[in-house]
Amino acid sequence: MKKETMLQLGILIFGVIAPMLIPSLSFQISILWLMILFALTWDMMGGQMGYNSLGNIAFFGFGMYICAGVQVGLYYDLAEYTSPFTTINATFTPDQYYTGLFLGIIAAAVGCVFIALILSTFLFGLRGPYFAIGTLGVALAAGELIGAWEYIGAGSGISIPVHPGEAGEKTQLFYYLTLFAMIGTFLFVKWLYGTRWGLAMNAIRDDEEKAEAMGIHTYRYKSMTWAFSAFFLGISGALFGNMTGFIEPLEVAFPTVTFGIFMVAMALLGGKGTLWGPVLGATLFHVVKEVTWTYLLGWQWVALGLLIVLNVVFFQEGIMGWMARKWPERFGLSVDSHMSRSKQSEEAS
């Protein structure tokens, strides 16, 4: 068996049996699966297509709100449910809960695809850093506008329907759903990078004008790729909203300065533009963050910001990029020893 297949199988087996081995950590591990999903979806845009987005987190929030809206809206009036002035006795039978959840996740994914397609009509005119600022603006504006919209609870948010089973069952259910979403994203992305579509994305990254001149319909590729990443982010938002049980616009649904920047940092840490880089980066980032979090006594956010700065400034190639430079043969890159030597001596001089 190839090493890569073994690694994939190993992750799959660990993912399936982890909640039985270490049930106390299963919430943490399901967040890890979401983090990997974030990094993979960001890398589709930033790493493979060269469109660095700082606002992909908007789809996470939209997915969360769409799913919550469907879950509640199927059985109750949403305006009444979220209003602070009237209290309605909202209970959900198991049947209602699972139908709502199922339809909610689908609606979140499809809704996010549509939102991505609408946003791309005007955002893909922006190039380079302007695209990054524009998407950041979209994410911030989305948080502000949803926070002002009374119908869906404005700043006070929505409480998600309570899972009808016991507490442990809920954690387990969402653990497997996040695992499933992560694996789905990984397999999709892996397949996509091997197709003509993946080559077109790379062509856009390398030189957009030339790609267009070669007959690649760049706008179609850009908007559809964004829609793909929105699809998976929408699902992740729907799941995360249900895991926390309560959503509100600024901290949970549109966390631009936390999850929104983490996804970029994780992809860069692992090495952008590679398949395994985001997975590796997200795992490392999440594990280090969770282990050191409590020991830093309130300064953890400062440490995290410093880590991001150092990573971006001094270690931009990421772990995969560093390894590819160190052992190019293993990555299928052939090195002309004569040329590399002359180049090294050039750099040294």
């Binding site: 660095n52 700082l54 005007f122 955002l123 005119g125 922006l126 190039r127 380079g128 850093p129 302007y130 990054a132 600022i133 524009g134 603006g137 979209v138 911030l140 504006a141 502000e144 506008l145 926070g147 002002a148 700043g155 300065v257 920047i261 970029v264 860069l268 309130g298 300064w299 956010w301 400062v302 995290l304 910001g305 410093l306 991001i308 700065v309 971006v312 400034v313 001094f314 931009q316």
Partner: protein
């Protein structure tokens, strides 16, 4: 919303109030935006920590007030501290991102902003603060319009600071070196200008300008550790609307933004004030891009 517009039509005094407030606040926006345009134009670094510098300046004044220094007097120590901070930041981090692509500068300065806001939050707490300057509030037009004296003082100070910066850029040796470097860094180097030092000075000058703006903001408005990002977005709105190196444009755009924010806050409600800023950013970026796309098509 329509009711609020009706109020504005029925009572024109409110318009005067909104325009005055927009003018006073817009002057400070212009200061911070000029700093951003400077760094952007000279070093090609897009500083997303701009707003955090502003808020940091405000908190330095807040800290100095606790040891008994009047906020207006704290302008000078704040400028010095922020200048030193900017220089340090350049030596430690910014120096390394100039040669990278622009997204690196965005992300790295975003990270710096994150560090600053969290550090301020730990040191001063997340409460909203405002500094009391001890000046009085005047009522004009039969008490319908309030003008606090501190706003006028801050407006005057703002104009003086802007004048000093502009004169510095025009007349002084360093200002000329900065302008030369922004035109052609390589030629400037050949002519014997220490471009490394010019970059450091530019970045430090930007931090000092932002710090001064922050002191003024803390006196006439509010500061809070996490308000920085909106200030950054404001600076970006102004600079993208005006283009850098265009001082009258920056001033006009800053006043325009000040008016727009005051009016949207009044007409749509205070919760839409930030959304207006961000919405304007997207509109201006897209409009700007449409113009650029037109020029691209000419090349084709």
């Amino acid at each position: 919303m329509l009711d609020n517009i009706a109020i504005l039509v029925a009572a024109p005094q409110f318009n005067v109030q909104l325009l005055l407030d927009g003018l006073f606040i817009g002057a400070i926006f212009a200061l911070a935006a000029y700093g951003l345009a400077l760094v952007w134009g000279v070093m090609n670094v897009k500083n997303l920590a701009q707003g955090e510098f502003v808020i940091m300046g405000g908190y330095i004044a807040f800290g100095l007030e606790k040891v008994g220094i009047h906020p207006i007097l704290s302008l000078i120590p704040t400028i010095i501290i922020m200048f030193a901070f900017g220089w340090l930041l350049y030596v430690l981090i910014i120096r390394w991102i100039i040669q990278h692509d622009m997204f690196t500068s965005l992300l790295a300065t975003f990270g710096i902003g994150l560090v600053i806001q969290q550090a301020l939050n730990l040191m001063f707490g997340p409460e909203i603060q405002t500094l009391n300057s001890g000046l009085e509030i005047r009522y004009i037009m039969d008490g319908m319009v309030t003008v606090s004296e501190i706003k006028i003082v801050s407006f005057v100070l703002c104009c003086i600071l802007a004048l000093i910066v502009v004169l510095f850029m025009k007349r002084s040796r360093m200002g000329q070196a900065i302008r030369a470097t922004s035109q052609d860094a390589r030629a400037a180097k050949v002519m014997g200008i220490d471009t490394e030092r010019v970059y450091a000075f530019t970045f430090a000058l930007n931090a000092a300008i932002c710090g001064a703006a922050g002191v003024l903001i803390s006196m006439i408005w509010l500061i809070q550790p996490f308000y920085g990002i909106t200030h950054s977005i404001r600076s970006f709105v102004i600079v993208t609307a005006a283009g850098f190196g265009n001082l009258p444009g920056v001033i006009a755009a800053a006043f325009g933004l000040g008016f727009a924010e005051q009016y949207s806050g009044f007409v749509l409600g205070a919760e839409f004030q930030q959304a207006t800023v961000v919405g304007l950013l997207i509109v201006i970026l897209v409009w700007r891009q449409m113009q650029m796309a037109r020029s691209r098509q000419v090349v084709k």
